[in-house]
Symmetry: C2
Subunit: 248 residues, 2 copies
């Protein structure tokens, strides 16, 4: 699974009941008892170094993974090497849902910084869902949310101009970070310009140019990976009219 010898496959026993992400992640809406049952199913946490693959497209699918700490990208690759980043994931978010359909992972998942994930064996999640209706329901909701997110990315890729895409991207990151208790208007980009471009359907040069343009207009401050949103309302204004949802 891992091609990296010094990878620490720390089999730390984790528990949802104590996890600071329990309001964001899978256990939403479960009572104490149900959460204990969920704890029993979650196999372990696994640590990954920056650049390491959590899974690869084509590998057998057995488990979903929830991000505990760190940051991931998922991407699908074409035969001739072109890469499409399909998402960036932060704590509490779930990876691997696309593997359920065929029992084979449909994308690559790569850590963009040193990270830690919880492994959720899918067949055990499935049977636990039958015992805990609210868990089953939440699970359906999570998958549905992913579909909604994907639809919004389609809207972005199909209808929006470079500036609108980048504004939507920055605002989306901002919103998700602030949900997790981080500053909404001052953050570090974990991904390269090329990865942003791949996600947004733009070339890296266009991403760089557009960020510079935003900075020239005084809307943001760019210092390499460090981004400050000075006038987020201007970014919102750019995006408004492109989508009612900002769950990109």
């Amino acid at each position: 699974m891992s091609d990296n010898n010094h990878t620490s496959i720390h089999a730390l026993k984790v528990s949802c009941s104590n996890c600071s992400l329990r309001e964001l992640c899978l256990p939403v809406g479960l009572n104490r008892d149900e959460m204990t049952q969920l704890d029993a199913v979650i196999r372990q946490s696994r640590r990954l170094k920056r650049g390491e693959y959590l899974f690869r497209s084509g590998e057998g699918f057995k488990s979903l993974f929830a991000v505990r700490t760190g940051f991931f990208k998922t991407s699908v690759a074409s035969q001739d090497g072109r890469e499409q980043v399909t998402g960036f994931l932060m704590s509490g978010e779930l990876m691997g849902l696309d593997g359920i359909s065929s029992n084979v992972h449909g994308c690559d998942a790569i850590a963009l910084e040193d990270s830690e994930v919880c492994e959720l064996p899918f067949n055990r999640m499935e049977s636990l869902g039958r015992d805990i209706p609210s868990l089953q329901h939440h699970f359906f909701r999570l998958m549905s949310r992913e579909i909604v997110r994907d639809q919004n990315v389609m809207l972005l890729l199909g209808n929006m101009k470079a500036e609108e895409r980048l504004a939507a991207f920055l605002l989306n990151l901002s919103q998700r970070l602030s949900t997790r208790g981080f500053a909404a208007n001052d953050f570090i980009l974990r991904m390269s310009r090329e990865e942003i471009g791949s996600f947004l359907g733009l070339k890296l040069e266009t991403v760089s140019r557009t960020l510079s343009k935003f900075q020239q207009q005084g809307w943001i401050v760019v210092d390499h990976k460090h981004i400050q949103l000075v006038k987020p309302e201007e970014l919102k204004h750019l995006v408004s009219g492109c989508s009612h949802a900002n769950s990109v």
Copy 2:
């Protein structure tokens, strides 16, 4: 729900057990007994005329809908009126999965020809899933398949040129039609050039021009909505290297 007086809300009792789509649709892998239980849950079939909305974005979500006959598009609209078509659906395919996450439909679903759908009340599907593990599993697989499909659309919108997009689109239609027993290389487009363009992230003129180009090269014959794939292998060659999956 419907704003159209002369709409026939034929409450035909339908049954999965007799349905010609049972190998394509929800009942895949169920035994006789389980299928009878599923029959009990499926509320009715509903007929829609061309142009009629099955549901609209923002409406309360209660049911999923399976296409029995006909053809649909789903789309998300931005505030300023721009439309992104997110999918075209044919018999045996499911609509409404995006509504589960928030109990509100996230897109519009519109019949592109006179059509008939089966209504699947979601809460009853959920509880039936707890009784029939294989149904629950199949349901997860269907949602996952939708996520995979969406990822492939992202790849298309993010990485492919106009000719590649259109080739992928035609081949995908062809493949799905042939699965349903129709001719793979001779079919009628149910949607307008504008709707194709919206789905593919192109303007209608570009769609029209690109179809003409394919025809000039002798790869297809275009007679308005009537399409014949003369050299599908050339189209495949165009697309190859853009994606390993053709489940767009």
